[in-house]
């Protein structure tokens, strides 16, 4: 990444040095000299002023303290500044003319860069790695606050070339990992290679985020409201759901793009009545590729601030339940839209599990516990939000309310009865304050309910701070 100085100097360097070279430059200067004598001093002064204005685009502080009457000093300063810029760039540019020259080809000729690209907060330091952190304090009714450094995630990437790139995400959850203890986890959330072939056809392979829903692939804390991720995108669609696999991605034009992968399958032995299929994600550990799952997502982002997406998943999950190989299918549709100071997002997902009755019996044989897995699961949520401060603004304060309905036992296999406490709905309402677009300070209150008259869902209050860097 380079800023204005770099861009401009690259332009200067390549046009002067790569195309003409210093001897030619000197020659041109001599040739043009007579013409300059013809110019009046006022004309020269005007042109010098213009040059100073342009130089101030590069360095707003340029020219301070110089007397406007002193033309020689002004030219001295201009020359000194230019020499400084060129000298600073030459050591980088000289060793690799062959590598750089093709990039600045004749096809697209840069002219200028202007605007606010230097307006990032002064003093910010950009690290060579990126990441996000998520600190929560959760409290259920009747209990005390439980602080939790939920996520500490670092992202690393590398470009082998313009066409082959690596990207990864390494996560530590709950701050502490100890062998054999019920504490945190260290996990590779994603680690893959991209082979960029054509805009509409690229190949990806490695540990992949399953392209389903809004949050699974877009889970940086400032990018969603609420301290915790939506229940629907936790129980009906697992997050963070990643599997080993490979596939193709591309941009089809007119705002459409897709991702479709073959991935390792879910583990049906870990499905449950309460968590549905979400507890069956392998996260790349002890995974199976005997029956690879097919997953695809089509997105439309052809209208500004509108994104619509639909995903479909199909696979068999019985590699650890011999003799029973239940099929899992998920269909999902989601959308996000912003209009003036309003944001809207919503999602609906439905899951089918075939042979759920046989699966329940087989898991009960293996573990001694009936998991009571449903044959269908369904969930949806709607979330309007309002930016309380006028936009664009340096700070952002968002009030939101999210209604979620989710049932991990929407339909049960014959002979099994759904438990009403798993037919749940929640109102999550709160505030997100962003002192910076990359920092989100969050508060929300959860009104949780279910259909059971015996097992009550506790309400909860959550505080959190998350940041991206």
């Amino acid at each position: 990444m380079v800023n204005i100085h770099d861009v401009t100097v690259v332009i200067l360097y390549h046009q002067i040095m790569a195309k003409m070279g210093r001897p030619i430059l000197a020659g041109i200067l001599l040739c043009l000299a007579p013409a300059l004598f013809a110019q009046s001093s006022s004309e020269i002064e005007r042109r010098v002023s213009e040059l100073e204005e342009k130089m101030r685009l590069l360095d707003p502080a340029f020219g301070k303290g110089i007397s406007p009457q002193d033309l020689i000093s002004r030219l001295d300063q201009l020359e000194k500044k230019l020499n400084g810029i060129l000298a600073a760039r030459e050591p980088e540019a000289m060793p690799a003319p062959a590598a750089v020259a093709p990039q600045v080809g004749p096809a697209l000729v840069p002219v200028s860069v202007s605007g606010d690209y230097q307006a990032s907060p002064a003093g910010e330091t950009r690290l060579p790695v990126s990441g996000y952190m998520d600190f929560h304090a959760n409290k259920e009714s009747g209990e005390s606050f439980r602080p939790d450094f939920h996520r500490f995630v670092l992202l690393f990437g590398h470009s082998f070339s313009d066409r082959i790139k690596f990207w990864s995400e390494l996560e530590i959850e709950h701050a502490l990992v100890e062998g054999g203890e019920e504490t945190g986890e260290v996990a590779v959330e994603q680690a893959y290679l991209d082979f960029f072939v054509k805009p509409y056809f690229n190949v990806r392979a490695g540990m992949l985020l399953t392209p389903m829903g809004i949050v699974n692939e877009r889970h940086e804390p400032p990018s969603f409201n609420g301290v915790e991720r939506p229940f629907v995108e936790t129980l009906i669609i697992p997050t963070t759901w990643r599997e080993l696999g490979f596939g193709i991605t591309g941009d089809l034009g007119r705002g459409f793009r897709y991702r479709t992968y073959l991935t390792s399958s879910l583990d049906a032995r870990r499905f449950s009545g309460e968590g549905g299929i979400s507890t069956g994600k392998t996260s790349g550990f002890d995974a199976s590729f005997r029956n690879p799952a097919k997953v695809g997502r089509l997105e439309y982002a052809g209208v500004r601030r509108l994104t619509l997406g639909s995903s479909f998943y199909s696979g068999h999950a019985g590699y650890r339940t011999p003799g029973i190989n239940p099929g899992v299918s998920i269909a999902e549709f989601d959308g996000r839209y912003s209009f003036r100071r309003f944001d809207f997002r919503g999602l609906i997902a439905h899951t089918w599990v075939t042979r759920a009755g046989e699966l329940n019996r087989r898991v009960q044989q293996q573990t001694g516990v009936n998991p009571n897995i449903g044959s269908q699961m369904r969930g949806y949520y709607l979330e309007p939000a309002f930016h309380m401060l006028r936009r664009p603004a340096r700070y952002d304060l968002i009030a939101f309310a999210r209604y979620e309905k989710y049932n991990t036992q929407q339909t049960m296999p014959p002979g099994y009865v759904p438990l009403p406490q798993f037919d749940r709905f929640s109102w999550v309402t709160g505030l997100t304050f962003k002192p910076n677009a990359d920092i989100a300070i969050k508060f929300d209150y959860n009104f949780n309910r279910n259909r059971s008259s015996i097992v009550q869902a506790p309400n909860g209050v959550n505080l959190g701070i998350g940041w991206w860097f």
């Binding site: 002067i16 030219l75 020359e79 697209l108 002219v111 605007g115 692939e217 601030r305 910076n436």
Partner: protein, 118 residues
């Protein structure tokens, strides 16, 4: 003479850098909204020879904007911190990719687009 030579050198270098095109009104202005993990629009068509100006603005974090064919690689400031204007002349026909060059999240590599010069 010294003054003139120095002036000439500065004028020449700036002329190369900014050229006549810097003060020219662009033939086409394209507003591009960057957000995790898309450019909108992501496919842009211009005509050969046009002076094109991209006005880039972010809806969330700061993103990068890199067109290798033009040697341009800049940072787009985060939401609320302004915009960037990039001007270039589309000298030759062809298809030229652009991409986010500043890590912006889990789907950073999805953030790509294409400039088509007809």
């Amino acid at each position: 003479m010294v003054v003139l030579m120095r002036f000439l050198k500065a004028l020449f270098v700036f002329g190369l850098a900014f050229g006549q095109d810097a003060g020219r009104r662009p033939d086409r202005v394209v507003n591009i909204l960057a957000e995790r993990f898309t450019y909108n629009p992501s496919r842009i068509t211009v005509k050969q020879g046009e002076l094109v100006e991209f006005v880039l603005i972010s809806d969330d974090t700061d993103h990068g904007f890199k067109i290798p064919a033009a040697g341009i690689d800049i940072a787009i400031p985060q939401q609320g911190m302004g915009e960037v204007r990039v001007r270039f002349v589309a000298k030759e026909k062809g298809r030229f990719g652009f991409e986010c060059s500043r890590a912006c999240g889990a789907g950073h590599h999805l953030m790509r687009g294409e400039l088509v010069v007809q």
